[in-house]
């Protein structure tokens, strides 16, 4: 049976209910929470500040250092505390997703530390984390050319779907599920993060990007409203 109706009834280009808020961690220089439905991420930014040890400092620019962490109880089967290969990879792709838009030449030899915690997980955790981190960076007064917005595009069977859930990721009929998380810049519409796992015909990649671009505009709107002081909770 082809995937004609989404498992949770959403339209194919529809996001899950969004939650977004800034300033949730008083000690941080900037902080934010972003949620796609049941996937909830919080992020805190500390910096720019001196990078120690000194030999790690780059005399030409600062660096962004990200630590992505899923809480053990955020998933159905408890995840052992501590970094895993997966969380280290996600930390790195998050650094790369954000470094491209931040003016790192402004404070050479410094570090901006970004801590991301996933409080609750139902797929798209890295995207929720990147959205929260981008908001936290802006909130922290970091100089950025533009914002970035991140979303998981899926190809479920032969349909392109926006913001896929875990159930959709596990879909096995027809062509199965392909997960394509994108992070796209707000103005230049360029890609700062892209991954794919599954199976997609080359001609369809553009379609996936178009879906991601459309969703990124909607996400940017939520990020903008939250930064301007709104406490967004579409679950209410």
């Amino acid at each position: 049976m082809a995937y004609t109706k989404r498992l949770d009834g959403r339209k194919f280009d529809e996001l899950r209910p969004i939650k977004a808020e800034i300033g949730i961690i008083p000690n941080a220089d900037g902080s934010a929470m972003f949620a796609f439905g049941e996937t909830v991420a919080i992020a805190a930014v500390y910096g720019p500040k001196p990078l120690h040890p000194q030999h790690m400092q780059d005399p030409e620019k600062g660096i962004i250092r990200c630590n992505y962490n899923m809480l053990p109880f955020s998933v159905t089967e408890r995840a052992k505390p501590g970094p895993s290969r997966r969380s280290k990879e996600i930390s790195m792709i998050t650094e790369n997703a954000l470094s491209g838009v931040v003016d790192l030449k402004r404070f050479p030899g410094t570090v901006i530390d970004i801590e991301i915690m996933i409080l609750q997980a139902n797929a798209s955790t890295r995207c929720a984390g990147i959205n929260a981190a981008a908001m936290a960076l802006a909130h922290a007064g970091v100089v950025m050319r533009e914002m970035v917005s991140s979303v998981s595009i899926g190809k479920i069977d032969d349909k392109i779907a926006t913001d896929i859930t875990k159930d959709e990721e596990d879909y096995e009929e027809g062509e199965g599920a392909t997960d394509i998380p994108f992070t796209i810049t707000s103005n230049s519409e360029a890609i700062t993060h892209l991954q794919l796992d599954g199976k997609i015909q080359t001609e369809r990649l553009r379609e996936a990007y178009d879906a991601a671009l459309k969703a990124s505009k909607k996400i940017l709107d939520y990020q903008t409203r939250a930064l301007k002081g709104e406490k967004i909770d579409e679950n209410k």
Partner: protein, 237 residues
Amino acid sequence: MTETKERRRLVIPGEIIASGEDYLPGDFTRKEGKNIIAQRYGLLEGDRVIKIIPVSGVYEPRRGNTVIGRVSDITFNGWIVEIGGPYGAFLSLMECPRFINKNDIAEFANIGDVFSAKIFSVKRNSIDLTLKSRGLGKLEGGRIIKINPHKVPRVIGKEGSMINLIKNETQTEINVGQNGYIWIKGDLAGEEKAEKAIELVAKEANSEGLTEKIEKFLGAKIKKINPEEVEQEEGEE
């Protein structure tokens, strides 16, 4: 996408804040074609030269700033001083107002002690401090509080009017660092009141009638320059 900009509105990085040939890009903005684009979270400001006034973020050191710092380490020729922000700072023995022997460094100031100092040099990663100016030196007694460094101008006020109001009404000495650290010294009650007043100014920095609010909070007697009232007052006395 906006053609015109409203004064003092909060904007975010990437936002197009003005569009047209006449506008010029000021602080924290860039020009792309006809558009002026924000590059930092903050308040929109300006008529022709559009700039962003930061409301958040760490202290960014500038030459000539007076800052308050805490000694975090002692070297053979001076003190390493934390002033917040992207870089650490250094105060050399040579920049003290009086001669200090290399063996007396810790006696003059030890780890955890605080200075009011001036930044006289900002090189790539290093900030150099000096105590050789009026009003600078080691701070004894009192307490240090921290506010958002971007609210410092409001806390000081036009020609010091706000901070002087607070000092007078609480009978405290106050030294405001551009880095957001503020030293307050008086009796315990005065210090507490001054701290609360400063935090109120920082919190309400952008609202109207702030001076009146602070005067009210401090319980200040507002002297009106009105001949009738002056006569009445004199009559009551």
